[in-house]
Assembly symmetry: C2
Homo-oligomer: 141 residues x 2
DNA sequence: CTGAGTAGGTTTGATTTCGCAACTGATGTA
DNA sequence: TACATCAGTTGCGAAATCAAACCTACTCAG
């Protein structure tokens, strides 16, 4: 988790990924839609590129022009984005500014499930196994 | 999404929530396990409290001592945390520092599904419906 | 040919946040 | 008495953020 946040936890990073995942590949559009300062956005996109989350592709030689697309890692971030959006719709705003219609006919509401058994994940069903030491646990249970 | 990040997107915020969700309710333990500077952590916890994600409870009068617990909103953030952890395990580290054993017998690997049809969410199955204007869409599809 | 617009940034300078270390105050423990 | 616990606060320098202007290299309208 900490490592994930190291890669995509900086300000504007996830919003930039969201824009690209919506098909907005161009710098100016991403900047407009996220509201990020241009210099920060430029820095984030480079960091995300270095992290292997987005790829920069040149679509014009003269003048040099680039667009961004998601790598496999970036695509899989969509799951996080969707979970975050579901939470935000419920807890961070009065009324959602947008919605996703899902192919099943309903508006999208997401749940996080275990891939093996398909059950929605419940805190009580988890047993944490620490593989690398250096982690403190205190208190009951 | 942007609103969600406004509440929990600052540095250390999600790691603090993770610790509390692991049952580490005390300031010192959260500070140790996250590695956050104490002053930043104090600021985050106040912000999270104001955002309604965590609650602060006094467990001792003299001296005054407090501990933190998740509100309903905080509990539901677990879904985001789990998705983020799954992504991080795959893309942000060489080998995961910890794992969750799930009650079904396997180690936990998560998927994000539609609550209505139970299908894993696929980008192609979504149709974005903007309810509040001020959002630019460019390029194909 | 001039001027405006587009595109993808970079630069500048002010503001904010961050991080670290030390300190506090009330208490309990050796 | 001395030390440790707990939940922070304080002071201060370093780093990140922001808004706005600027730059380069085109394209297009007039």
């Amino acid at each position: 988790m900490a490592a994930a946040l190291n890669l995509v936890g900086e300000k504007w990073a996830l919003l930039a990924v969201r824009e690209i995942s919506f098909g907005n590949k161009r710098f100016d559009v991403i900047a407009r839609n996220t509201g990020a300062p241009r210099d920060r956005l430029a820095a984030r996109l480079r960091a995300l590129e270095a992290a292997g989350v987005v790829a920069r592709r040149q679509y014009s030689d003269h003048p040099p022009r680039y667009e961004y697309e998601l790598t496999q890692a970036g695509e899989e971030l969509r799951a996080v984005l969707l979970a975050l959006r579901t939470w935000g719709d419920k807890w961070a705003v009065d009324s959602p500014p947008a919605a996703f219609g899902h192919s099943c006919g309903h508006d999208l509401d997401t749940a996080v499930v275990c891939r093996h058994c398909g059950e929605e994940v419940n805190p009580d069903d988890l047993r944490l196994r620490v593989l690398t030491p250096g982690w403190t646990r205190r208190g009951p249970a």
